[in-house]
Symmetry: C2
Subunit: 201 residues, 2 copies
């Protein structure tokens, strides 16, 4: 059986969890105490040298890291991965955007506020992170004002990737009220077959 090393509150973990549920794939979930250092132990680093969650243990005992790579792997041969190379590249474009331009602002601020773990001296970074986060939201808003989903014309792992931290952006103090197209897209995703909330393990 598949095994997901995960953290329930993590959007990165939730990406894998949501797709596993939507695919109807049974899996066992191991909650990892990331804030307590459990991703830095020799045991954990032996399965994921990058030292982050999620990590997916495959049925052959091999391990795959990086949330968006896990989405790619699980989605192969399913409708969650687009069929055309140009649309595939567009999905990946959004997933790289997620890791570089969205997550480091929106997810990091959420973590700082939710866990009160903002590093000393990071107050100066906070304003910049709000600015970067809102800029990322605007890029999404402009796309979603024209199309129902991010890559091509149907729901894909690009939507899962960006849904994960966008739908909880309010927990970091981001106000989604002005982003009507994003809010409609969040609703569309919550209406997808097999959808489960981030709070479900």
């Amino acid at each position: 059986m598949l095994r997901l090393y995960d953290k329930l509150s993590s959007g990165n973990g939730y990406k894998a969890r949501l797709l596993l549920h939507q695919l109807g794939l049974p899996f066992e979930r191991v909650e990892v105490d990331t804030l307590g250092g459990a991703t830095r132990t020799p045991e954990y680093l032996s399965i994921n040298p990058i030292g982050k969650i999620p990590t997916l243990r495959l049925e052959d005992g091999d391990h795959l890291a990086e949330s968006n790579a896990i989405l790619y792997f699980l989605a192969q041969g399913t409708p969650y991965w687009p069929g055309e190379p140009r649309t595939q590249a567009e999905a990946l474009k959004w997933m790289f955007f997620e890791q570089y331009s969205h997550e480091p602002a929106i997810a990091v601020v959420r973590s700082w506020i939710q866990y009160e773990n903002m590093p000393d001296g990071a107050e100066d970074q906070l304003a910049r992170k709000y600015q970067d986060g809102y800029a990322a939201l605007q890029v999404m808003e402009d796309r979603l004002a024209e199309q129902d989903f991010l890559a091509g014309d149907r729901y894909s792992i690009a939507d899962i990737s960006l849904f994960a931290y966008t739908h909880v952006a309010g927990q970091g103090g981001f106000d989604l009220a002005p982003y009507a197209a994003i809010r409609a897209w969040l609703d569309r995703i919550e209406g997808q077959p097999g959808f489960v909330p981030i709070t479900l393990g």
Copy 2:
């Protein structure tokens, strides 16, 4: 003809440039003055709303953003993209690692030093970025001590993605001397057919 909106000193631009050369694909290159604000003009944002380089203009006039998504698209159907889904996922794992754990440390420090554009107050971040950058290098070193290339057993776009900023890490003050496996891997990449240096447009 393909057109690459690019910046010669950019590792992200170089990723696309290097693969285009290795594939023998003719392209025209447009140098974009990123530091002078040329990626924030309405004209540029209309082709890449994320406002970064590189952007690839395809032959049909459509535009693709995000360096690693461009690599994916260009590599389809070529030996630079692995054939097996598990190895493909591993290549993407390294490419997401590049954008999240490697580039924000190693490329950003290089830019701060090379262009003397470190933001006010970022001195506190510098030590952390060196720490993060060396941690990323160690993850690569451990992999490359066991295998010649990052994903599977042959050269792929995962290697191109991480070569881009690793081989110029010294320009940001990173010392690669202790990383013997990385240095041997850099040599292997420079010996690949069609290799061109970052200085070649």
